[in-house]
């Protein structure tokens, strides 16, 4: 009897072997097909498809700027300088010199939605109503939520003629064109045709973008095809088809790339990079407006209220070690923005690794090896832009311990951490917490500097978590907001940046290099210095 069982086992084993051989044969078929680009995203789901995507920057990157256009867009064609905002569905705009709150946008003619209907001033008004006017039938809470931070400065809007739209801001705000790049125009006709039901539109959305959604399956895949009639002939997609696959687990992404299931993965874990390179995969990196900081509390119970402690914390971190741990996929930070950025300015406090100086500063502040400064920081185990939060924080904890800062963590999941950040340091939930490790972007002046440093921009209206107050910073922030000349504005932002660096407003660690890995046959990609990337020139050969 036993012998027979073993025979069974043997035959099962040989069957498996045969199947494996067959699989080897088959997996050749699973390799890339020319013209089809398969991308593994870090998101766990397909972002919202109706217009304003969910899933933050990644949603805009893969579902926003692919299916849709805004009045403005980021110029993502250059890799050697920070991405800028350029005209898109609006050809040009002017600010009323009498009242700088009033903007007039001239729209591009001859633009068609995927469903064939025409893009015009009515469509713009309809879309802004969709996001901000609860009285209109097309108002959609889900999209409004996603758009809120971009639509916040807008007070009112109206049609002047078929090709002209006027937008009024709540206060004088030179940052508006940046915000408009993230407000996407969906087709009013498609919504009408599908019985005014946004959940049906989600299955079959229509924008004006270079790609059209063919089908999607929640949490599994979205298939986009080329829009051959896109108004900008230079941006007709080189690939016929773009397949988006949500893969939140980094190791899964690496395995999928190595086994030929996808052509492109977002954010490979640093330790997989040597292996990927060994298999001839391309590793593409570039700076982008990202900083991995501790946002600090300035409340009375926070040791960080003392500038010496803040400076000491900034000097205690071995950023080169951190970069080494990250496999070189990051650059040490010298402030909020990177050194080559137009807003860097001329700070006098140099952020570097100087533990001796840090110890000296702490001693002056009344701390020492016997009496370490005790701080508690809120961190998360993962999240968009959070890089490798657990090992990075553990590493910094050791750095801090060396100079006499005793750091304790509170680990929350990513959404919970974001909630804590929105609540502000003063909220009862954040009592006794002296910082929050929330990665930050500086793609526009508001998020990056003005609303992070201005004492008028406390959470939740702005992004000033820890109640930072500095009169010089306030004055410069308000001045920047009201300066419409880009060169002049950049200069003021540089001064503002110098002030907050000299004041060691946050602890700044590293800028992520936004790594992605692709198969050797993926060609034509230019990685812009941006959270967003243009997939139109990319092709699989």
């Amino acid at each position: 009897m036993i012998r027979r069982s073993f025979l069974w086992l043997l035959s099962a084993a040989s069957l498996t072997a045969v199947m494996c051989v067959a699989a080897r044969h088959d997996s050749a078929l699973a390799q890339s097909k020319p013209g089809v680009l398969r991308v593994a995203m870090t998101a766990g789901d397909i972002p919202l498809t109706t217009g304003q995507p969910s899933q933050g920057g990644e949603g805009i990157r893969f579902i926003g700027i692919t299916l849709y256009d805004g009045l403005t867009r980021w110029d993502l064609s250059k890799s050697d300088k920070a991405a800028e905002v350029i005209p898109d569905l609006a050809e040009s705009w002017t600010v009323n010199p009498g009242d700088q709150k009033i903007w007039t946008f001239k729209l591009r003619k001859g633009v068609k939605f995927h469903d064939g209907s025409e893009f015009n001033a009515d469509a713009v008004v309809w879309n802004l109503d969709k996001l901000m006017n609860k009285e209109t039938p097309q108002f959609d809470q889900a999209q409004a939520n996603q758009a809120a931070s971009y639509s916040a400065p807008i007070a009112s809007w109206r049609k002047i003629d078929d090709w002209t739209v006027e937008i009024t801001t709540k206060r004088v705000d030179a940052v508006l064109p940046y915000n408009l790049a993230n407000l996407f125009m969906s087709s009013p006709k498609r919504w009408e045709d599908l019985g005014r039901d946004w959940s049906k539109v989600a299955e079959k959305p229509s924008g004006t973008g270079p790609w059209m959604l063919e089908s999607f399956k929640p949490r599994e895949r979205a298939e986009l095809v080329r829009n051959p009639d896109h108004w900008d002939k230079t941006r007709i997609t080189k690939s016929e088809r773009l397949i988006l696959l949500p893969m939140p687990d980094p190791n899964t992404r690496v395995a999928a790339l190595l086994s030929g299931q996808v052509d492109w993965i977002e954010a490979p874990p640093p330790d997989a990079v040597p292996r990927l390179k060994q298999q001839k995969m391309q590793i593409v990196t570039n700076l982008y407006p990202h900083i991995w900081p501790y946002q600090l509390s300035f409340l009375d119970d926070s040791p960080f209220k003392d500038i010496r402690v803040r400076k000491a914390a900034n000097l205690a971190i071995d950023r080169d070690g951190l970069v080494k741990m990250l496999g070189g996929l990051a650059v040490p930070a010298k402030g909020m923005v990177n050194e080559t950025h137009p807003w860097f300015g001329k700070p006098t406090f140099e952020i570097k690794y100087d533990p001796e100086q840090a110890k000296k500063l702490l001693k002056e502040a009344g701390y020492g090896p016997e009496k370490p400064a005790k701080v508690k920081i809120v961190i998360s185990p993962s999240g968009s832009g959070q890089m490798q939060p657990l090992p990075m924080n553990e590493f910094i904890k050791e750095n801090f311990a060396d100079v006499g800062i005793d750091m304790e963590f509170e680990v929350l999941d990513w959404e919970a951490l974001r909630t804590r950040r929105r609540l502000g340091a003063e909220a009862p939930e954040n009592k006794g917490r002296h910082g929050v490790n929330n990665s930050w972007g500086y793609w526009d002046p508001d998020i990056g500097l003005i609303a992070a440093a201005g004492s008028f921009a406390r959470v939740p209206v702005g992004f000033n978590w820890g109640d930072y107050k500095n009169e010089k910073a306030d004055a410069l922030a308000l001045k920047a907001k009201a300066t419409f000349d880009p060169v002049e504005q950049a200069k003021i932002l540089g001064e503002l940046h110098s002030v907050i660096v000299d004041d060691a407003m946050w602890v700044w660690m590293v800028h992520d290099l936004n790594p992605r890995a692709m198969r050797p046959n993926v060609k034509g990609f230019v990685q812009a210095q941006s959270w967003f990337q243009d997939l139109t020139p990319v092709v699989v050969e």
Partner: protein, 300 residues
Amino acid sequence: MSQTSIAVAGLGAPLKGKRPVTRSFWQNVFRRLTRDPVTMICLAILVLIIIAAVFAPLIAPHDPYRTSMARRLIAPGDARYWLGTDELGRDLLSRLIYGGRLSLFTGFTPVLLATVIGGTLGIIAGYLGGAINMAIMRVIDIFYAFPSVLLAVAISGVLGAGIGNTILSLTLVFIPPVARVAESVATQIRAQDFVEAARATGAANWRIVSSHVVPNVTGPILSYASSLISVSIVLASGLSFLGLGITPPEPEWGLMLNTLRQSIYVAPLNAVMPGVMIFITSMCFNLMSDGLRSAMDVKQ
């Protein structure tokens, strides 16, 4: 793992022997256990792991928290770092030794708590019967109506990460099966002649429970609970692996597995090490639990 033996073993632990358990029963069990080489080997390994964990500061060759980028991911077999180093250059052997503390703690504690709470509930329900039995057991049934992994993940997911929440969720998962075992045994005991006799002579309930019910229930519960320890260790490490368990920088095997697995392509041996520790520990507990069960099986 995890969901596993709960469903099966729980109901498969019927009352052995109809007589009150005597001292000699436990002596017999003990004698059988000491003569079983597999159990003894497992015991030795576990004692070793536990001693190492308890006296970690004396035994660990290096500081488990000391990071160094210069020596990250050294392969096992190094002269200084015997089992290599992790992604932050910390000595892996030291971290595995320290890691035993939390891993064993999160393995033991829920089982211990569930045994005490579930056992008490089960005995009360089984001995008192009637409406109280009804009330307790129906609530238990509701929690038993969830797949165990699902319940643990759901509770931890909702409450958030942390040692306390992990222990809480695992305890809640283990109470229903323990209570069911205790209840079924206690119900059987209650119907026994010697209990009826004791009642007839007017003995107080607590006296009957402590002298007749508890000693008889102890065996089946112990045998069942021992099989839960390995489930608990694997499940707790699974929660840490998902990011729902222990929070860093504490060394814990599941969490180490989680953070090290991104290095699986450059340092596969280092990355699988914590998994091996979880496996060995859970295996030993399982084999010991088996040994205990067969030693308590009077028929053999």
